[in-house]
Amino acid sequence: MSVELVPHIKELLAAAGLSGNEAPVREILEKTWKPISDELITTNGGSFIAVQHGTGETPRPKVLIAAHMDAIGLMVTTIEEGFLHFTQVGGVDPRILPGQMVNVHGTAQGSDKAQDIPAMVVMPPVHLLPADAPTGVLGLNHLLIDTGLLPKEVEKLVRVGDFVNFAQEPMELAGETICGHTLDNRSSVAALTVCLDILSRRKHLWDVYGDATSQEEVFGPGSITDPVLVRPDLAIVIDVTFSKGPGGNGYRTCEIGKGITITAGPQDHPYLVKKLSKLAEALDIPCSIEAAPAPGGTDAYSIQTAESGIPTVEIGLPLRYMHTPVELVSIKDIRRAGRLMAEFIDSLPADFMNEVIWE
């Protein structure tokens, strides 16, 4: 592989790139994807797409692979005596916030002179809270961010609306795992890079659109508008899924490091689920079926229903502690997912869509 995977993941994890502000991720992908793609597109909705032309006869069929690149985080709402009040961007459990290290993307001196200011989320002493504040878990409205700077410096650097991202640096843990913030869903973006890297050395017939989508964690403009732009014949959506671990052991969870998942649910075309599962088995890629009784949760929700509808299938990377700054994913699973997607696309005959039937 020409792209070194672990440094690539770490670079992706270190980038801020909250929903609606994905530029830092696009910059990394532009650099990494340029040598392995024929064309790069930044969409109106903020997504970033690598195009690899197929070798089949035109008009060639197209496959869209979507992995959202945005991160959850916080946003400044008020500045008071040098302390920052904030709200959330995407779903944040308030219980993980007290004592959390963050970076405030301060733009008070203009967006072009933005400064990342190291800071932390803090829990005020009880006697400073209003009488009706809860005694146990404090909501976001009762927490503050402290930059360690004097109030007048804060006023100079930070303004209302500034994004705040988790500052947890990526760490490699035992069992070939990687840990940090925003493995949801940069680990899938890394798997997409693996896939594009492999395909760049293959003579696949189909045109490939590798799509790092925007704002999945909030309003999803990427997954709503990208299929209209690309008009794919079929789509693969890769996102993280729930792994077994402390606090999570239900039917929706699977073992970490024991392979990837293929989702079987209302967002997944049964024929594609079957085809992909058989291929994984043939390639000795450990893989299990994740049962999804209801739609939602990934970009597949919008992509499947774009225009007149697109046959879609979802691949999952098991992840522990989703939406905390210490998410944990198996590095092997990232490689496995990238390889499975590449082999699948490379195996597609020009007339594959004739095979995709309801049975």
């Binding site: 400073l128 146990g136 360690g148 210490v326 998410e327």
Partner: protein, 360 residues
Amino acid sequence: MATEKKSVKAINFNLGKQELDLLTRLCNGVAVSGDEQEVRQIVLEEVKGLADEVTTDALGNVLVTKRGTAPNRLRVMLSGHMDEVGVMVVKDSEDGTYEFRIVGGIDPRQLVGKPVQIGRDHKPGVIGAKAIHMTTPEERKVAIPVEQLRIDLGPGAKVAIGDRGTFATKLAVLGPSLRSKALDDRLGVFNLIQLLKHAPANVDLFLAFTVQEELGLRGAKVAAFSFDPQIGIALDSTPANDLPAFDADEENARYNTHLGAGPAIYLMDGATIGDRRLVNWLSESADAAGIPWQYRQPGTGGTDAGAIHKTRAGVPSVSISVPQRYLHSAAGIVRKQDLINTFKLIHTALSRLDPSILNS
């Protein structure tokens, strides 16, 4: 002691590269109460060649003696505790995750979603929480008890039952501030080392780098017995609850201390009533040298002085702290200038300490 009219010149002291490097090593070291070895090693290395006597006692305190040269010297004990709050691994779940308990006082709400380091080799791990997607709104209003949390070191990882650990936060300089997991009380340890390097000639210094302060001032108790001092001073760090009150009509009157307002002199906490002769001597010394200082608001909490003042036939004692926000969490924040002024105050006060203080 009569108020000194003439002005005193404080020692020229700053946080240069050497000082910041020492602070970084002290703060990033792991020394949870009961296993202070890592910081003890740094202390022993730093005091080498500077003291008259250095011993490590039965509990693990490092006891350093530095005698002055002037006549009529008081025997002054100063303590700074080496230990910090943390966690201990208590049960192996056999899948790379471990059950643990808190050592010292940490609000369990501070633990969730944090990186930690376990054991002497600082093995990296995390304390996670289940996905928000799998929680109910009601559940998210209830703090997760420590019994339900796990330290996750990754599949297959092994540490020993009984291993201790801390938050993995590294010291950072944030503009005028320092942020670290162990400012309580590596700042005290740091100031003791600086005092040894700039020892005043008019006193005998008995420097106690104590253990187990967070478990009930246990190290200081035996250290004070060994030293048998005439005066005891605990150097510690105390909460600065100087955040804005959420109710706009209310002023924050219970701040304990303010960041940036200088060293905090104790009148009374939950373990000691400060000896007023010493309290006045400290505040007068600060005024004489133009060093900003503040009273710590009388209240709860305790320092090594709580053990020292009850030793043998009794030791007049007082505490001085560097004000700190967010003690006993993943990181506290202090102002560099408060640390500098704390050292200046201690040094200035000791340099003008006269045995007659105990006759007043």
